[in-house]
Structure formats: structure tokens, C-alpha cells
């Protein structure tokens, strides 16, 4: 249904996204995980045609076969809300602080769906109920700063769902929600995807949520998709060193409390930081932090190697002739 074909997003010299390719079929659910600042939101914005003005986009963005990469704002606007909708990562940035949340949610219903005010109001209340906002009727008249962070996030979810989009890009939709509510939202999204054949791109750092919400997963690092495949398989048997490190950093029960020396236990991390975009290694973006680095990593970009069960990973260690196979270390 929607396809990104070698899409790059550049801020001057810096590449926020490097030739990323992605296919999303109608009704499919794809998860995207990765290090903070690795380009997940940028990928979502590409699907919406909303990359910031400062960026240069290259590659093809196809919606139902039509390339929209260079399309004008007017063309994109026709597709937004109905063909592709997005739940933005930061609710406060996406909501107009001057308008009541009810008006914000009702606007697309009035404009795109041609509903009357009363109908739009009823529908907004129904949507608020669906996403679990308490006392929906009264909330309609509140301003964004008068509701809690999680409620704002759910307003945004309701807003994205107003026009029954064909593809929903959910950028960290559950960050401000407690486990119970998050579960409920994920169930809602999965149900919508199944009953309405809605495609879902679920961007999250919450691996448990991704596991629940999606069928396939793409792991990103430094603007590259480094590993992809069926969600359960990738999360249980990761092959790319970054994915392995990421899964190892999950806080577990063993990290709890204090160590023998009375100091609090430190959590496991991947050593080092993501280098700034303008300073990324030319080859594998993860080189420099990777514990199993070999000679060609820094200079040559690894290609995607197809592994069993539809899993794919871009790592030199997985090449048939490589010295030690990366998967072996887990």
C-alpha cells in the first residue's frame, strides 16, 4: 500500500535517514525501534509528507503505486487524515494551545467528512470513550494545558483516528500511558487494523508494546534499517550486534536494589553514544561502538543478508565468508 524506496533525508551534510526502504501492505502492522535520534520519527514524517522544510528528501515515497516524493503540500493534504494519519510523538507540540481539544478533534470531521456540528460532537465523544478519556463530554471544552500528559496523548490518538485512515503512523503513542491504558490502546489499534484493514506503523522504544502490537519489526540505528523480520523472531533471536545490545539493556529484576557494596546497581547499556549525524562512520553506522567490529565495518556499508524465517540483518559478520558469525554470540 505504501512504500519507501531508498529514501534519504538530509539536513545539510547530515543524513537523518540513509536510503531507507520499507513496504507496508494494507492491514499489516510494522514496528520500528531504535536508538534515540536514529531517524524513526523522520521516517514517519516521510510517510506523511511532513519532513521539515530544512531537510532535503531524495528517493521515492509511493502511496498505492503513485510517487509522492516531490508532491506539493496541496497533494499531500488530500491524502493526510484519510489515507495516512499520524500520532505525533509530542502531544504538546502537535496540539494547538489556543483551541479546545474538542474543536481540534472535531475539525477534520467537519472539514473532511462533512458532518454537522452535532454529529461531529457525538463522534468526538465516542472516540474519546474509545481511547479511554474519562468524562469525554466535559473534556471537549478543556484546553491542552488543562489535561494530563497521558490524556493529551490520547486526544492525539483520537484525532488520528477521526477519518479512518488507511495507514496509521503511531510515533511513540504510549509513552505517557500507564501499563493498563497502554495495553488498551494497543488492543484498540490492533483491532482497528484487523477489522478495518488499517495498516499500522508502530514506532516505540517499549519492546513489550512492539511485541504485542506488531507482526514485523524494523530495527534502526543512525539512519539505517539494520535488522528486520517477524517481530517475535527478531526479539527472541536478534542477529545484528546493535539489536543484541538493545535487548540486553532492558531493565530486569536482577538490576533491582543495591549491590553488595551498598551502591545502587547500575543498568546495562551499550557503551558509547550515537555520534552526531554529521560525524557518522561512512560504513556501518554502528561501527565504533560495536564489540565485534572487523576491518571492513568502518569503511564499507554492509548489505542486508537474508536469514532464516524472513529475518534480514545488515552486518558484515553475517556475510557467508565472514570470520565469526554474529549470531553465535547470543
Amino acid at each position: 500500500m505504501m512504500e519507501l524506496d531508498r529514501v534519504s533525508v538530509a539536513f545539510g551534510e547530515a543524513l537523518a535517514l540513509r536510503e531507507a526502504s520499507l513496504r507496508i501492505e494494507a492491514g499489516a502492522r510494522l514496528g520500528i525501534v531504535g536508538e534515540s535520534g536514529c531517524g524513526k520519527s523522520m521516517l514517519g514524517l516521510c510517510l506523511m509528507g511532513m519532513v521539515p522544510d530544512a531537510a532535503v528528501v531524495s528517493g521515492a515515497i509511493r502511496l498505492n503505486g503513485r510517487d509522492l516524493a516531490g508532491a506539493s503540500e496541496a497533494v499531500w493534504r488530500r491524502h493526510r487524515a484519510r489515507d495516512v494519519a499520524m500520532i505525533f510523538q509530542e502531544p504538546m507540540a502537535a496540539l494547538n494551545p489556543l483551541s479546545r481539544i474538542g474543536d481540534t478533534v472535531m475539525e477534520p470531521l467537519l472539514v473532511h467528512e462533512g458532518l454537522s456540528r452535532a454529529e461531529a460532537r457525538d463522534r468526538a465523544i465516542a472516540l474519546f470513550e474509545e481511547v479511554g478519556i474519562p468524562e469525554p463530554a466535559a473534556r471537549l471544552r478543556q484546553y491542552p494545558h488543562e489535561i494530563s500528559g497521558g490524556q493529551r496523548q490520547r486526544v492525539l490518538i483520537a484525532l488520528a483516528l477521526t477519518c479512518n485512515p488507511g495507514l496509521l503512523v503511531a510515533d511513540e503513542p504510549t509513552t505517557a500511558l500507564d501499563a493498563n491504558v497502554a495495553l488498551r490502546i494497543i488492543e484498540l489499534l490492533v483491532r482497528l487494523s484487523e477489522t478495518r484493514n488499517m495498516a499500522l506503523v508502530f514506532i516505540s522504544h517499549d519492546l513489550a508494546a512492539v511485541a504485542r502490537a506488531t507482526q514485523t519489526i524494523a530495527v534502526m540505528y543512525g539512519g539505517d534499517v539494520v535488522e528486520r523480520g517477524p517481530t517475535a523472531q527478531v526479539l527472541s533471536a536478534p542477529r545484528h550486534p546493535y539489536t543484541i545490545g538493545l535487548l540486553g539493556a532492558r531493565p530486569g529484576l536482577g538490576d533491582r536494589g543495591r549491590g553488595a557494596d551498598g551502591r545502587r546497581r547500575r543498568l546495562v547499556t551499550i557503551p558509547g553514544n550515537v555520534p552526531p549525524l554529521f560525524d557518522l562512520p561512512a560504513g556501518c553506522r554502528f561501527s565504533g561502538r560495536c564489540s565485534q567490529e572487523i576491518a571492513q565495518c568502518a569503511g564499507t556499508r554492509p548489505v542486508a543478508h537474508v536469514l532464516d524465517g524472513g529475518q534480514e540483518a545488515s552486518c558484515h559478520l553475517l556475510a557467508p565468508a565472514a570470520p565469526g558469525r554474529a549470531g553465535a554470540v547470543t
Binding site: 521539515p52 500528559g149 509513552t175 513489550a208 545502587r264
Partner: protein
């Protein structure tokens, strides 16, 4: 015996909701209802609870952005709502907050370095540039990133900028409202380690608001569970995780897979 760093005594906060009809009196929502706790230096209190249960409201009252309708917030034994404007500004240099919404808490028209330096300028601190660079480095960003504006960062990077601003003054108390919620597990672990370092090296106390029970269980000494504005459970983290007394706590633990 000196007073505890922070004491919250039976605070209650009510909001008026929008009126449904012109002549009807507006309904009242009790966002926080009679919550009390004591936090000692170097300790961490985890606040968890349902979305909309009043966690951020509690944080705003601790920070004296809002006065409680009932009860009092005592910082080092002083009721912060009774302090005069100048004394309050003085005291504020010792407690900092990381807001739930990083984008909303950074002035869009100011560079990141400017925002981080703001509390330092108020304190007339020395070596501001060095301290900005250090704070940025601690949260995994570059000194050069300071010249950029908030919209040029990713969500998680902005969240780390907000953390850098809050720790740059080396406060005695940090109120962190969902401060690591937008970070992937690896960066999140780095930040949590950083906060634990600060705690041990400087005796930083934290009120750590989060919905992520796994994180709270890892780093908090005590834990407070909120629901509909009420405190339903309060006590030692290990004890609550092992033997939750309230149904709601139990359901949270189940849902977050602990």
C-alpha cells in the same frame, strides 16, 4: 535532628472543569486528594499510577507552581507557599524539575545552550559555558548541539536536554516527571545510571514519576501508587513489588509484566 528534605503533608488540589451549561455551577475535579510523604536526602521516591491520577499535579505543587487547596509542602522544613517571592526564588535554585512534555518545556525561540544556562545565570554561576558542555555530554549530546534550537532535535534528544537543564545546577531535589519515557532502553539506562551517580556523589533526592514499573522498581527506594487522586499504596519498593496490597497495584504489576 534536622528537618527532612521534602515533606508533603496532606495536599489536596481541586480543579474546576468547564461548565456544562451557563447557569450550572462548574463541576469540580479533585486531582490530588490528601497525599502525604516524606523524602530524605539521597533517596528516591517513585510515583506511579494511572494516567490522569494526579502525578503531574503533585509535581507542580512540590515545585510551588500551584498552591495546594489544602495541606502543605515543606522543603527543608519551610512551607514553600509561605515564602516571599524573593525567598522562593532563592529556594528554587535547589529544586529542579524535568517536565513531562519536553517540547513544551523548552522555549522555541531560545537555543538549547541558552535554556540550559538559564538557572546558572540566575545563580550568577561561574564557568557557564563549561558547565553547559559538561551537562550536554552527560546526557549523551555534544557541546555543539547547544547552538541549535529545540525543534532541530528528536523527541528523545529534547527530553535529554530537559534533563541536562535540570541537573546543571546540581540541585538537592529533582522532580522528574516521565523524564525517561521517550528514550530507548539503552539511552534510558545511561540516563538512569547518570541520575544514580548524581545521587551517590551529591546526595540528590528524587521524586521519580513514571508509568514504567520496571524502571521504578530498579531505581526507587520508596514507591507511591496513585489512583484517581488518592494515594492507594505507599512504602518500600521491594515490599510493594513483592506483596502488593491494593488490587490496582496488582493489576499494574501484571500489565507491566513484573
Amino acid at each position: 535532628m534536622s528537618a527532612p528534605l521534602l515533606e508533603v503533608r496532606g495536599v489536596t488540589r481541586r480543579y474546576r472543569m468547564p461548565r456544562e451549561a451557563l447557569l450550572r455551577s462548574p463541576p469540580v475535579l479533585t486531582a490530588v486528594n490528601d497525599v502525604s510523604f516524606v523524602l530524605e536526602r539521597g533517596q528516591t521516591l517513585g510515583v506511579v499510577g494511572e494516567s490522569g491520577s494526579g502525578k503531574s499535579t503533585l509535581a507542580r505543587m512540590i515545585m510551588a507552581f500551584e498552591a495546594p487547596d489544602e495541606g502543605a509542602v515543606l522543603f527543608e522544613g519551610q512551607d514553600i507557599n509561605r515564602l516571599g517571592a524573593a525567598a522562593l526564588r532563592q529556594a528554587r535554585q535547589r529544586f529542579q524539575m524535568v517536565f513531562q512534555d519536553p517540547f513544551g518545556s523548552l522555549d522555541p525561540r531560545r537555543t538549547v545552550a541558552w535554556s540550559i544556562a538559564e538557572p546558572l545565570r540566575v545563580m550568577r554561576a561561574e564557568g557557564i559555558d563549561r558547565r553547559i558542555a559538561e551537562a550536554l555530554d552527560q546526557v549523551g549530546l555534544r557541546a555543539r548541539d547547544g547552538e541549535k534550537y529545540p525543534h532541530e532535535f528528536s523527541g528523545g534528544q529534547r527530553q535529554r536536554i530537559a534533563i541536562a537543564r535540570a541537573i546543571v545546577t546540581r540541585p538537592a531535589l529533582l522532580v522528574a516527571d516521565e523524564a525517561v519515557s521517550a528514550l530507548d532502553v539503552s539511552v534510558q539506562a545511561q540516563i538512569l545510571n547518570l541520575l544514580m551517580d548524581l545521587q551517590e556523589d551529591l546526595g540528590l533526592a528524587m521524586v521519580f514519576i513514571s508509568h514504567d514499573l520496571a524502571v521504578v522498581a530498579c531505581i526507587c527506594d520508596q514507591m507511591l501508587v496513585m489512583r484517581h487522586g488518592d494515594c492507594v499504596e505507599f512504602g518500600d519498593t521491594a515490599g510493594i513489588v513483592a506483596r502488593p496490597r491494593h488490587d490496582y497495584t496488582r493489576s499494574l504489576l501484571v500489565a507491566s509484566g513484573i
